[in-house]
């Protein structure tokens, strides 16, 4: 009983105590940031040195512009740059427009929770797995063609047309849409919890706005600031994706990140130098693209404000916005078909064109692969668990420190935590590997957990920070007024109220960890194999039956994480339904 009084005394009277507490509370986020930024900065600087010719291990000991000349002398470099920028912007612009259109016309038709549950499988399937499945579905000899050949098309042999790997990268853009739209939708859903969207929509509709128009004019401007950083992450990812491009993208010319990847993997060590230049250029393109996006945002906001002021109500028909809805649903169905196709492959023994289904079925692939899956599956699980736990503890600590210090990092400072998502992986991982080896940490679980954490933590932060900050502070104040210590306020009020977003953040973190390819490879020194590293390696062997097994198992783990995240709160809060939708 003494404690709260003591607490009040400290808070109320002792000014120096508050100052000290604040300093401590500010220091922790700075330490967490340092944990990330220092290695990435060191890695990036290392790469910049190599990009300018400095790599003593292969005899490069002076600074030169030669690697840059090599880069720009690469045949088709301008087409490569054009393609990179086209794919990056096309995928991002389309995902944003489609996701917004889908929400505008679909709002209120599907419950939030059902919507999240429907997104889970698409979010959970790793990018490479999705790409492999899609490649099979849309190819001229793929599943769609097999279903309608030869009886409808007359194709006794598959037509010789380029669908997968088309020169414009359109199939790649479609695949990116399948993965990115669910992510943006999830971020919009998270943001919707923070604004009284339903009330505002009702008000707007009573003023005569059509439902979709009301959403775009009233809700969107409120939530956009919260989905801005996720959109930048999507933009950066689409500009620098490697694994999906290798599977679905054009190969000659290809995108810049693949050029860098190939050079980093070239047998001739001298290619490290132009590879580093390409990686640095990739970084600059991402930064430039985000700047362009930001400028476009300002322009659109300026026009949009006038448009909203104009007060047009929009027609009551939903026609204009049914197109995005149909497209989004079509893309999701495509993603689902890709998944089912790979599941069928894992049980197929022979499945040749133009058979709509396998000629023979077998369990042999599963029986042969399962023993080999055990140890990578275990590594995948522990890496995911530890990096997610570390991530959630750090993020909660950070947010709690902000609360206690009564400050909030400015939006600009927040940028720092997204650095790992924005800086292309390839541009700093090699130098980080050298760093790890120097300290003797390479090839340890610790090193890989840490490397995963670089990417897991920003995503956890991305999905948890807004719900956390939107929690009405009066709950915590009331609890404190009733005598609870800050720690028990955290434990008994904040964490339970935020259980749902916390678990969803964990599920996202876990699936991010499962999907990591390059970081696992570099930090694990190849000695730590996960389902993803095994699957990408096997993708070179192209036995779809085996790939089917891997893509299924690889998607299953994150999928279970989402299922747990969505069901645990329902079970725990069965009698407190309001907690399932905090406002």
């Amino acid at each position: 009983m003494d404690a709260p009084i003591h607490q009040l005394t400290v808070n109320g009277i002792d000014g120096r105590g508050i100052a000290r507490r604040r300093q401590a509370a500010i220091a922790i986020p700075i330490v967490i940031l340092g944990l990330f930024l220092v290695p990435i900065a060191v890695g990036l600087i290392g790469t910049i040195f190599v990009a300018f010719g400095y790599l003593p291990a292969v005899g490069g000991d002076r600074i030169s512009l030669a690697p840059w000349r090599d880069l720009f002398a690469y045949p088709g470099i301008w087409s490569t740059l054009g393609l990179t920028i086209f794919v990056g912007f096309a995928a991002t612009v389309l995902s944003v427009i489609l996701a917004i259109g889908f929400c505008a016309s679909g709002h209120g038709r599907v419950g939030y929770r059902r919507a999240e549950a429907m997104l889970a499988p698409l979010l959970a399937s790793p990018h490479a797995a999705m790409a492999i499945g899609l490649a099979f579905v849309v190819a001229p000899s793929g599943w769609i063609a097999r279903l309608i050949s030869p009886w409808l098309t007359g194709w006794n042999v598959p037509p010789d047309i380029a669908i997968v790997g088309d020169p414009w990268g359109l199939t790649l853009v479609v695949a990116l849409l399948v993965k990115e739209i669910p992510f943006i939708l999830l971020m919009i859903l998270a943001a919707l919890y923070q604004v009284p969207a339903d009330e505002h929509l009702k008000a707007a509709r009573s003023l005569g706005y059509s439902p979709a128009m009301a959403w775009i004019k009233v809700v969107l401007p409120q939530i956009y600031p919260q989905i801005r950083l996720p959109i930048y992450a999507v933009l950066a990812f689409s500009l620098s994706v490697v694994d999906m491009t290798l599977i679905l993208g054009p190969s000659n010319p290809t995108t810049l990140s693949v050029v860098a990847f190939r050079w980093f993997n070239a047998p001739d060590i001298a290619f490290y130098l132009p590879a580093a230049s390409a990686a640095v250029l990739q970084f600059l393109i991402v930064i430039g693209a985000i700047a362009v996006w930001r400028i476009a945002e300002i322009g659109i906001a300026w026009i949009g404000r006038r448009w909203i002021d104009g007060g047009r109500r929009g027609s009551s028909r939903r026609s204009a916005l049914t197109v995005p809805t149909v497209v989004v649903i079509g893309l999701f169905v495509l993603g689902g078909i890709a998944f089912i196709a790979m599941a069928i492959w894992s049980f197929a023994s022979i499945w040749r064109y133009p058979g709509a289904l396998p000629e023979a079925w077998t369990l042999a692939t599963w029986i042969r692969q399962l023993p080999a899956l055990g140890w990578p599956a275990e590594a995948t699980f522990w890496l995911g668990l530890f990096s997610t736990l570390a991530g959630i503890v750090l993020v909660v600590t950070w947010l709690e420190c902000e609360d206690r210090a009564g400050i909030r990092l400015t939006r600009r400072a927040l940028w720092l935590i997204y650095v790992p998502l924005v800086v292309p992986q390839i541009s700093f991982l090699f130098s980080i590997q050298v760093l790890l080896i120097r300290f003797g940490f390479d090839g340890t679980m610790f090193a890989v957990v840490w490397a995963h954490l670089l990417f897991v933590l920003p995503y956890i932060f991305l999905s948890l920070s807004d719900p956390w900050r939107a929690l009405d502070p009066r709950y915590a104040r009331s609890a404190a007024a009733l005598g609870a210590s800050p720690f028990s306020v955290l434990l008994k009020v904040k964490l339970p109220m935020l259980l749902r977003p916390i678990l969803i953040a964990c599920a996202i973190g876990f699936s991010v960890s499962v999907a990591q390819y390059l970081p696992t490879l570099f930090a694990g020194n190849g000695r730590i194999a996960t389902l993803t590293t095994e699957a990408v390696t096997l993708a070179g062997g192209a036995d779809r039956r085996v790939l089917g097994v891997y893509t299924l198992v690889q998607s299953l783990m994150p999928f279970l994480a989402y299922v747990l995240a969505l069901t645990i709160p329902v079970l725990i809060f069965a009698r407190r339904r309001a907690l399932l939708r905090p406002t």
Binding site: V58, Y74, S251, G526, L538
Partner: protein
């Protein structure tokens, strides 16, 4: 130790190496004894399921026979392992590195050997090395014109063959010029892997071999002076062929296995392979129709050898050597040549084996998709690695918009 090394250097080149000196036998026993309990991280391309299971089998044998644990580090590209050794050298870790053994040849081997990243010479120290065919299979001692000098031990042979579906293809070309005629009659039904893939550039090297006036020029490094003249007939031929390839030569499968996928999807009827027994093993594992067959060209095709090499900073060199020796054992080689297991031709000289051991090879299962010995009679030596690099660069320059 020094004495052994010198001995190994001198013996590495000796073709007929029948007797093992007692000193060496003793030191080999020592090597085996020291290796017990060690773990070998064998870095090997992991894209082929059959090779992966073979490596797993090697691991279980080494565990039971020598108490050595083998961990297969599955690479999607051999250069990953090279890069890892470079990263370690950069960081100054000259001992106890993470790579103990690499499956390697060609430009990767050249790069590691030239940058002093390899341990050795050691292959002469391996007791089973005496069975290796160093005369009629010259690629066992000279890799892409680079003398191996005992810095790597051979373990499987590769030779270019072409695989086709006999259900759809009746006339097969017997030379590079005839190949063009075949493509004209069957446009869009052949694909070679991307030229950045070793198999893709090997296809061009094979063409160059037949089109060049004097193939001997390919045994020396390509120079700025002779490259364009020597390769002119190649590009003339390829300009005609390219539009007749799958997807009009605007797209290429990423790798050999990706081309195999195209064959079983009926997108193409013919492909190039670097493993003569591969087609037979595809049939055995339902990866391709059982109507596929294999052929080579009348004037022979390029052949080479896959090696294993030990990085200079490996912490388990002795265990790695025991593994390399195990790969050369006649029983292991016979299993590797068995199409139900791996199906890759042996590096050994069967005449050097006693009757019991030779018998192992006579009894192997056969398949109509296997090439005959007659088909494989002429294995042409690989050109110098510089031709490979330059051809790939020139191809990229010519055919990238």
């Amino acid at each position: 130790m020094m004495k052994t090394r010198l001995l190994a250097i001198s013996l590495g080149f000796v073709a007929a190496f029948y007797s093992v000196s007692s000193a060496m036998a003793a030191s080999w026993d020592e090597t085996v004894a020291n290796a017990r309990g060690d773990t070998v991280y064998w870095n090997a391309w992991g894209g082929d399921e059959r090779t992966n299971s073979f490596i797993a089998w090697v691991g279980s044998e080494l565990q039971s026979r020598y108490g050595i644990t083998v961990r297969h580090v599955k690479l999607s590209d051999t250069a990953e392992a090279v890069a890892r050794v470079i990263a370690e050298k950069t960081a100054g870790r000259d001992e106890d590195g993470s790579v103990d053994l690499i499956w390697i040849n060609g430009p990767n081997l050249l790069s590691m050997k030239q940058n002093d990243l390899l341990f050795g010479p050691f292959s002469g120290d391996l007791p089973n090395y005496r069975f290796v065919d160093t005369v009629n299979k010259p690629s066992n001692v000279v890799d892409f014109t680079l003398p191996v000098e005992g810095m790597a031990a051979p373990w499987r042979l590769a030779q270019i063959v072409f695989v086709y579906d006999s259900a759809t293809v009746t006339d097969i070309p017997n030379s590079i010029p005839a190949f063009l005629e075949w493509a004209k009659a069957n446009p869009g039904r052949f694909a070679h892997p991307n030229v950045r893939d070793f198999l893709g550039v090997t296809f061009l090297k094979q063409a160059l071999y037949e089109l060049v006036e004097n193939p001997q020029v390919l045994q020396a490094p390509a120079t700025d002076e002779n490259f364009s003249e020597v390769t002119a007939p190649l590009w003339q031929w390829y300009d005609e062929l390219k539009p007749l390839l799958w997807r009009g030569g605007r797209q290429f499968p990423q790798s050999g296995p990706a081309a195999r996928q195209l064959l079983s999807d009926s997108e193409i009827d013919m492909l190039i392979s670097f493993d003569p027994a591969e087609a037979a093993s595809w049939v055995a594992s339902d990866l391709a129709p059982d109507t596929i067959r294999t052929f080579t060209f009348d004037k022979g095709t390029i052949g080479n050898t896959s090696f294993v090499a030990i990085p200079y900073n490996s912490g388990n060199k002795e265990a790695a050597m025991v593994l390399a020796d195990f790969l050369l054992e006649p029983v292991t080689q016979a299993r590797a040549q068995n199409i139900t297991h791996l199906g890759s031709f042996t590096v050994l000289d069967l005449d050097k084996l006693d009757e019991n051991r030779r018998h192992l090879f006579d009894e192997l299962p056969t398949s109509p998709a296997l090439p005959t010995n007659e088909d494989l009679r002429l294995a042409l030596p690989e050109p110098h690695a510089s031709w490979m690099t330059r051809i790939a660069d020139e191809w990229t320059r010519r055919y990238t918009n």
